[in-house]
Structure formats: structure tokens, C-alpha cells
């Protein structure tokens, strides 16, 4: 739990802060081309952050940070026969290694989503008010966020949080052949989990859209 959560905090904070900055910067800049004023930027940004970019980017970061970590760990355990050693002593490697990470990943995904959205909104507010002179109150408005955004995002968090350790551990367990094998497994884990996050995100968003959530 600690290694999935805390150690990702700085990383998530850093990337999400830059994401928040850039989104507000771009949104304001683009909006200035066509709109007379920037009042919708804040609410729309917060709404999008909560529903779309928050879960997705946090999951992408978790996939690189944690997915790669799990794959590296399980992969090196696989190539040094530790997994076999577990099997022969009747310890189920999935139960022993994956399940705790699975649970931790889901919980931390939700926590980091909240954290990430807060950081991004803080960074976005900074640039929105300082650079584009949007009123703080106008910017920090939840009028662009609905309860269904939150539910959809939470649902995404759970799904992403579950998918990442499974994919990562799977490629870790399939590692063969020394350090190069571990490297390969880690690469595969990152690519698979990144892609799966995007794919799942698309599916969930589409379904949510279709049902009007």
C-alpha cells in the first residue's frame, strides 16, 4: 500500500500540476480566440478534470509508476525462480503477490484521483487567475461538475486500479530469461496497461455517454 501510494504522490503531483497548468493555459488561450470572456473556462476545466483527465491521467501515471514497478518486481522474482519456489511450497503467487497489490491499487487509485484533481485544479487556478486574470470565484465553480461526473470517474478509478496490477503482474509472471526478460516484462507491462487504460476509458466513457450519465 505504501509503495503504491506514497511514493507515487510526488510523481502524480508533479505531472498533474503540469497537466492542470497546461489545460487551463490552452483552454483560456483557445477560448480567447472565439469567446468574449473566460467565465466558462474554470467550471468546464474542473468538470473535465474530474470526469475525463483526472482518472485517465492518474491511471496512466499509475500504470507507468506502479505497473512498471509490479512488473519489474514479479518479473525478477520469476526469473530467479522465486515464483516457482512459492508454488512448490503451496503458496499461491497470485494470492500472495497480486491480491494485496490489487486491493492497494484500487484504493490508491481513488485516493490519488482526488489528490490529482486537487493538485491540477490548484495549478490551473494559479494560471487562470494570475495569467488570464479570471476571478477566483468565477474560476473555482462547481457548476460544470455534476454528481454523475463523480460517479463515472469513481467507476473508472476502480476499473483502472484493478486492471493495472493484473496486467503488470501477468507480464511479470511471464518473464523469461534473466535481466533482459525483466526489462521486456516491464516494457510490456507499461505498454499494455497504458493502452488498456485508454481503451477502457473510451469504453466506459462511451457507455456512460450513451446512458446519459
Amino acid at each position: 500500500m505504501y509503495s503504491i501510494g506514497n511514493q507515487s504522490l510526488v510523481f502524480i503531483a508533479l505531472t498533474l500540476a503540469f497537466l492542470g497548468l497546461i489545460l487551463v493555459y490552452q483552454a483560456s488561450y483557445q477560448a480567447l480566440k472565439v469567446l468574449p470572456d473566460l467565465t466558462p473556462v474554470g467550471p468546464v476545466f474542473i468538470g473535465t478534470m474530474v470526469r475525463v483527465f483526472g482518472p485517465t491521467v492518474v491511471a496512466l501515471m499509475l500504470a507507468t509508476r506502479v505497473g512498471a514497478g509490479i512488473a519489474a518486481e514479479t518479473g525478477s522474482m520469476t526469473v530467479t525462480d522465486q515464483i516457482e519456489a512459492m508454488k512448490v511450497t503451496n503458496a499461491d503467487p497470485v494470492e500472495y503477490l497480486v491480491v494485496p497489490r490489487f486491493i492497494a491499487s484500487i484504493i490508491m487509485m481513488i485516493v490519488l484521483w482526488v489528490f490529482g484533481v486537487l493538485v491540477a485544479v490548484a495549478a490551473g487556478t494559479l494560471i487562470g487567475t494570475l495569467r488570464f486574470g479570471i476571478q477566483l470565484r468565477t474560476f473555482l465553480s462547481l457548476s460544470g461538475t455534476t454528481m454523475s461526473d463523480v460517479w463515472v470517474a469513481l467507476f473508472k478509478c476502480v476499473i483502472f486500479g484493478a486492471a493495472i496490477p493484473i496486467l503488470a503482474a501477468d507480464s511479470g509472471f511471464k518473464a523469461t530469461g534473466g535481466s533482459e526478460g525483466v526489462g521486456w516484462a516491464t516494457t510490456k507491462a507499461v505498454v499494455h496497461s497504458l493502452f488498456t487504460v485508454i481503451l477502457l476509458d473510451f469504453l466506459i466513457s462511451s457507455i456512460a455517454y450513451r446512458f446519459g450519465w
Partner: protein, 263 residues
Amino acid sequence: MSKPVETDSFLGNFGRTFITAFQTVGAMTLLQLRIFRSLLAIKNFDYDESVTQLFKIGVRSLPVVIATAAFVGALMVVASGNFVRATGATTLIGWAAGTAVFSEVGPILIGLMFSGRVGANNTAELGTMVVTNQIDALRVLGINPIGYLIVPRFMAMIVMLFFLTAIGDLFALTGGAITCRAVLGIDMRIYWQGILDSNLLSEFIMGLVKAIFFGGAIAIVSCHWGLQVTGGARGVGRAVNDSVVTSAIAIFMVNFFITVLWT
């Protein structure tokens, strides 16, 4: 592998994080300088290695880049779909999706995918070479490992990420178009017209410029961690992990600065 002294204090952790970060950045800058120096000494250029790297880096990552891009475009359309439904402004779809894909989301996600696919693989490959003393063997043979191994990768990543982003943009828009019709039920022509009407050339070119810098950043980060590897299989795994994480941070930071400087 020397373990850092375990300090549980928050400040200690904080300080250590920063010192490590600065060390890493410093080492990467040095690596960058060495790459440029080797670039100037053009006689180090190895044609076969370059073609191999171009192939491995470009052609092999094409499928994953295309797939990612298509879904990213689709995702952007669905995301803007919610606002379109709220406001009824269907013409905005093309503009929103086009701007997002060209200038920000496209380059970033293709870059992230590229760092996962190519950067991580590169770190693993170089790391294994370090662990098995192949780098030392090159040195003994009088070959400069930077010129022979790193420069072709560096160039190949920049060139290939540039072209892959160009291709990816197209597939992202196509994915968006299909989603527009299939999920949102809005005619594709409205979407395409929206893109064409929105004057997105500047965004498109900015995205490609970003791709060049992302390629360079991913190359340096992944080579750095690859050459740093110590401690066998576990070390390689760790290095790959560090490599993708640092690449992601680098991508987001570089992205921000390019956008701000561009506009």
C-alpha cells in the same frame, strides 16, 4: 548496490528526493552534452546500427501508436460530447477534438506510449548490456559507446516520434470521426468541417515540435537510466521503472514550456 540511509522523517525524505532529482538532472545534462559532442564527430556514425534503431523504434511501435492515437481521438470526441449535449453546439466537436488532439493530448499520449514502448525497451536493452559488461567490452575494443550505441538511438527516437506523431494525429482524428458517428450520432461531415474550419495549422505544427522534444527527452532519460543500471535482473527492472516515470515527468514539463513559449 549501496542502500541509502533509511530516514523516516518527512523532511529527510523530502530532501533526499530533491537531491536525487538534481543528481539525475545533472547526469542527464552531461549525457546530453556527450551526445552532442559525438554528433559533431560525425565519423562515429554507424549506418547499420542507425537503420536497426530506426526500424525497431519506428516501425515496431507503429501499431501501438496507431491504436493509442485512434482511441485517444475517440476519447476526446466522447469527452466533448458531454458539452455538446449540454449546449447543442455540434459544430464545436471538430474544433474541440482537433485542438485537443493536435496540440496537447495527441503528442502527450503518443509520447507516453512511445516512452513505454521504446524508452523502456531501450533502458532494458542498455541496462542488460551494462549488467553483462558489454559496454565495457566495447570500450576495450576502442569503440565509444556513446557514439556507437546512444547517438543512433537519440536520433532515431527524435525522427521517429516526429513521424509517428504525424501519423498518429491522422488516426486520432479518424478514430474521433468514427466515434462521432457511432457514439454521438453526429454526422462525420460536421466533425471534419469543424476541424477544417478551425485553423488548426499552428496547433498541428506545435504538436510536431513537441514530438521532436519529447523524442529527445525520452532518448536521454531512457539512455541515462539504462547506463546507470546496477545489480542484475532486479536492477534492470528498477531502471526501466525509473525510466518511464522520469520520461512521463519530462513529457509533461516539456509540454508545458513549449505551449507557453509557442503561444
